[in-house]
């Protein structure tokens, strides 16, 4: 009897494991689904089309920033300057758009320069971490202060409105659908394509075992630098979204977002030690953070307990993720 019972059981565990190996973000997906249901239970209005669009347009910046973080975490690195890169790009494009008159051409040119700036910041990080071999956590902490300083120089106090064209597009609709849905669609295609590139595999290989990667002939330094470049690029994209959602420049806007981006990466099932993870998981991790914040409020938590509950909920989700993930990892 016992043997008959264990047979299908172990096969089922095996298939769950295979599924998790193939799609390591499944636990995160389950958690996001559960959080949606809970939010809907406590406040049905929070599941309305309008509220969901709002959730996406507000958290799109954190989603992109978490994805940026994921690429360096892949390689076992970390970037504590993503929030500052976001602030720097935010104030730069705001100032440029204003200076050039705020027309369509000015907006596009500013965005192109914003992308270049993000890449440049990524390059600085990559050089100090991979080429100069400084410890990533401290080196990027230092560059974060440097980037914030630059942002404060460009725009000393928050202000300067974005051109109406820009934020109306971001918050508006295209062919009847909210613009953020298109961003999400393009993002998913982009992530899918990036996941198939050699770079993604190389980053994971470097993160899994740097020594082994080096010995098999991978250009470890260049791979890590390219990881930071990708990170800078996505941080710039995140800056576009925050500029769209806030319609203004703020040299300190990204400061608090850095650690949230790290949290989202971990909530999404990636290992901070590197070599294991998915960008889709980080996307879901960012949504998890947003949904937890709303849920704590919709549950009617008294204000003095809201921080406590948020921390507790994030810890619980982390534990759930670890328990589910443990089965998948060898």
């Amino acid at each position: 009897m016992a043997e008959i019972a264990t047979g299908p059981m172990s096969r089922r565990v095996g298939s769950i494991r295979r599924l998790l190996e193939r799609y390591p973000f499944l636990p995160a997906l389950g958690i996001v689904a559960a959080l949606f249901l809970l939010n809907g239970f406590f406040s049905p209005a929070s599941l309305s089309y309008r509220a969901l669009t709002g959730l996406l347009s507000t958290y799109m910046a954190l989603i992109l920033l978490s994805i940026a973080q994921t690429y360096v975490v892949y390689a076992g690195d970390i970037d504590l300057s993503v929030g500052s890169i976001l602030s720097l790009v935010n104030v730069t494009i705001i100032v440029l758009m204003e200076r050039w008159g705020g027309g369509a051409g000015a907006v596009l040119l500013s965005l192109a320069l914003g992308l270049l700036l993000g890449l440049a910041c990524g390059l600085v990080n990559g050089l100090v971490v991979a080429a100069l071999r400084l410890q990533a956590i401290v080196a990027t902490f230092a560059t974060s202060i440097f980037f914030t300083g630059l942002a404060l120089y460009i725009l000393p106090v928050a202000g300067t409105p974005a051109p109406t064209l820009f934020w109306r597009t971001y918050g508006g609709r295209l062919f009847g659908l909210p613009f953020v849905f298109y961003i999400l669609a393009v993002l998913l295609v982009l992530l899918f394509m990036l996941a198939r590139t050699r770079l993604a595999a190389q980053l994971l290989a470097v993160g899994d075992d740097r020594q082994a990667a080096y010995q098999t002939g991978l250009p470890v330094v260049s791979v890590r630098i390219r990881g930071y470049l990708l990170c800078g690029l996505f941080a710039a994209l995140a800056a576009f979204c925050i500029t769209g959602d806030t319609a203004s420049g703020d040299p300190l806007v990204g400061g608090k977002m850095t650690l949230y981006s790290v949290a989202a990466v971990v909530l999404g099932g990636s290992a901070l030690a590197g070599g294991w993870g998915t960008v889709v998981g980080s996307l879901l991790g960012a949504l998890t953070i947003g949904l937890i914040n709303s849920l704590v409020f919709f549950m009617g938590t008294p204000s003095e307990w809201q921080n406590f509950m948020q921390g507790l909920a994030i810890l619980l989700v982390l534990m759930a993720g670890v328990l589910a993930g443990r089965r998948a990892r060898p």
Binding site: A158, P161, T246, A247, S248, G255, Y260, S303, Q306
Partner: protein
């Protein structure tokens, strides 16, 4: 005990009116994006107490609070949650002056009154009810200039560079010192509204400029700065601005410090709430909120504590915990006086 009596009296009063007989019911959302200091906690508690007071007048003001350490998108989400909940008004202590323009526009479209407090916002769809931070900086500087008889060397210890309130305060004191040509600002440093950093900064300053006469230090750092001044044995040579917290005011009296404190009262949110309820009742301001750099501000009076009235301030704070701040807010009657 006091709270219980208040509660019991409230209960009796509401029974007398009978619970369902409220003439009006308003739902007001309070959003606070930073919980790093007791000042913010007191701000919310006072706002809740102000809402409770409306019950005596037959107005049921239900408050719904979101208060947590969030980034700017997190606080935008606060506003979205309030819109989803269908509140009548939102009172917000905003994490950014400009970032809320689009979401406030959406709130207004949904027929929601938006009031910012403690920090001004640029949105034309909101009004600001609070103190003028430039005037706050100027008031402390005026006191310092007067105390020093218009001459001497001063240093400034400021908060977070780039933070709008900080920049306004800096502009405020710089203007005042410019009008006193014999006062020389020898250095300005940032200590990020942190007591430990304020103490450290003051130590460095005393080591570098042993002959300074005055210190313009913002609240949240002044207790730390004063500790360094006292440790250096210079409390009788130096005049410096102070804090409005009870523990500092007690120290002030005990050590007979030469200090003056501009009050940024935690009651600003309570004042904003009273203004909000009156606006929801359809009343109109005598003078529309058009002040400030964004043209949407209604400035509240700024109290000042100096050695003349510090005993009175201490009296208000008697029996409160050490972190409790001296406060003031518009009562319902005072708020009504602002309306037609």
């Amino acid at each position: 005990m006091k709270r219980f009596i208040a509660f019991a009296m409230g209960a009796v009063a509401s029974m007398a009116i009978s619970a369902s007989a409220f003439a009006e019911t308003f739902k007001i959302g309070l959003s606070n994006g930073w919980v790093g200091s007791e000042w913010r906690t007191q701000m919310i508690d006072e706002a809740k107490a102000a809402a409770e007071k409306w019950k005596e007048r037959g107005v049921d003001v239900e408050v719904s609070v979101q208060s947590a350490n969030v980034d700017v998108p997190g606080q935008i989400a606060h506003v979205r949650n309030f819109i989803a909940e269908g509140v009548d008004a939102i009172i917000i202590n905003p994490n950014s002056p400009t970032a809320f323009d689009p979401i406030f526009a959406q709130a207004k479209e949904a027929g929601i009154l938006v009031i910012a407090t403690d920090a001004e916002v640029s949105s034309p769809d909101a009004i600001y009810v609070g103190i003028d931070q430039t005037a706050w900086g100027a008031a402390g500087a005026e006191w310092l200039a007067k105390t020093l008889d218009g001459k001497g060397k001063v240093v400034a210890i400021n908060g977070v560079a780039g933070h709008p309130a900080n920049e306004m305060r800096v502009a405020g004191y710089r203007q005042v010192f410019k009008d006193h040509p014999d006062i020389q600002i020898v250095n300005e440093v940032n200590a990020n509204w942190d007591q430990a950093q304020g103490q450290q900064a003051m130590q460095n300053i005393l080591a570098t400029y042993p002959d300074i006469n005055g210190v313009f230090v913002q609240d949240g750092m002044a207790a730390g700065a004063w500790k360094s001044i006292m440790d250096a044995g210079k409390k009788d040579q130096i005049a410096a601005t102070g804090e409005i917290r009870k523990d500092f005011i007690d120290l002030w009296i005990k050590e007979d410090l030469n200090s003056g404190a501009t009050v940024n009262p935690p009651g600003v949110m309570a004042s904003a709430l009273n203004v909000a309820v009156l606006m929801l009742q359809g009343k109109e301001l005598k003078e529309p909120a058009k002040a400030g750099q964004y043209g949407n501000a209604l400035y509240l009076p700024i109290p000042f504590i100096d050695s003349e009235n510090v005993e009175e301030a201490a009296k208000q704070l008697e029996g409160k915990p050490g972190y409790y701040s001296y406060t003031s807010s518009l009562s319902i009657e005072e708020a009504e006086a602002l309306f037609k």
